[in-house]
Point group: C2
Chain length 285, copies 2
Amino acid sequence: MTDSELWYTEYYTEHVRFSYRVSKLLLRKQTKFQLLEILETPEFGRLMLLDGKVMLTQRDEHVYHEMLIHPAMLAHPLPKRILVVGGGDGGSIREIVKYPFVECALLVDIDGEVIEASKEFFPELTSGFADPRVELKVGDAAEFVKDTDERFDICFIDCTDPVGPGPVGPAQALITDEFLDNVKAILADDGIMVVQSESPVYEIDYLKTYTSRLKERYPHVATYVIMVPSYAGLWSLTWASKTIDPSIEITRKPPKGLKYFTPELFGAALQMGKLDLWGARPHQL
Amino acid sequence: MTDSELWYTEYYTEHVRFSYRVSKLLLRKQTKFQLLEILETPEFGRLMLLDGKVMLTQRDEHVYHEMLIHPAMLAHPLPKRILVVGGGDGGSIREIVKYPFVECALLVDIDGEVIEASKEFFPELTSGFADPRVELKVGDAAEFVKDTDERFDICFIDCTDPVGPGPVGPAQALITDEFLDNVKAILADDGIMVVQSESPVYEIDYLKTYTSRLKERYPHVATYVIMVPSYAGLWSLTWASKTIDPSIEITRKPPKGLKYFTPELFGAALQMGKLDLWGARPHQL
């Protein structure tokens, strides 16, 4: 059988784009909130896309999920109550439930159809949903953080892209001042927030503005860079905490079986987040 | 003026490809050895391509050239005689001549038309060619390393891709056993060889085989990973030496004005090179 000439193209900016050869279109569905697509590809396995942006691929989702979750889980003195905003694919929860001391992991995702599609097409990501400590709430996380009386040790913002070419979707509500204030309010005093903060290459202006807004709210803010081939090669995550510096020595042992995360690699990721490496576009060169 | 819908597409494998919007095609020429193209793009500035592969862009060439050159130049006790194989664009030489103790920097590139095109379209890369310590030799580096009686403190292999989709061109002669043996023979006892060793994502099999062949020849071999947006986000460089471990503490001061290299970031790059992070293709998942 020859390869199909069906290609899927993601625009990183209006001027550059990445394309995957597609062996099978598994799902294409307009949910109440976004366009949900699932593809089979020869290079990256299955992909999930929302509004034309790659959310995950089977080949490299472990990099993103391990690096989003484990640094904070290992640095916090004893994280028992965890909130995940977004993350309906399940990858973040899968990593969180690897810690026996977690008492409650609450996921709030606005789009229940993403959760259902992930269960069907990415069972290896949704395995954590069966854990009795996990609670799934389909709803608006911006409303949730405004209204809840609960407090959390760590809050992970595992959202879609709030900027970029094309439609930006529900994540817009997760970058307002009000949302940032409300997240801070529901975090314990030694709490940590970790958020996916976009491409350090193509959205550097967004990243700078966003981290400066976090710095107005938290004394410890640091961006770290991870290597995710399907996220244009490089992606940024940002850490914010009232009391915990991300560069403290990690003494807790990571769970067994991780494929990417090591404390050394997290240290390297922090180094890479310190530099503004590709800020200049040609007109600035 | 609206953006042109002229796009240039580079295949990373037969299954994934990256495209740049092109504002101007500046040069397209079949040399004796390869297809040489130079484009103007809104996202990356000017690009040079050989046989359809991006060699450099104005926006991120500094990452590659600084990380190829400076770690070895700073770790070696006193590198006076430097050989660059390939590198006709001039970026490597530009970095090497920043060191006052360099006595001779010899560049051997097979394709004189690359050197001439770089002088015309990338004058910021070729500034080092005017340095009196620099010698440019247009010729076959595989022959040169076989025949020369000269000895070098550092040899940089700054070549085109010897593997990948499409034509592989003259770099094939630079990965033979004979070439590796000859490079080792012309290196001083405390010499270092640093080579661009392809994508750690898409050419991991090549990278593993190549480094294992280096390990048969050198006791100190280490791959480090650099972040180059126009090289699929991530690229590998590999260090080989008879006596010098790349993780030694760097005490020499780097030249002023570097935009990417720091000793800390080199340490991070070494960490990232230790891991086989994205080896599995879907059929292996």
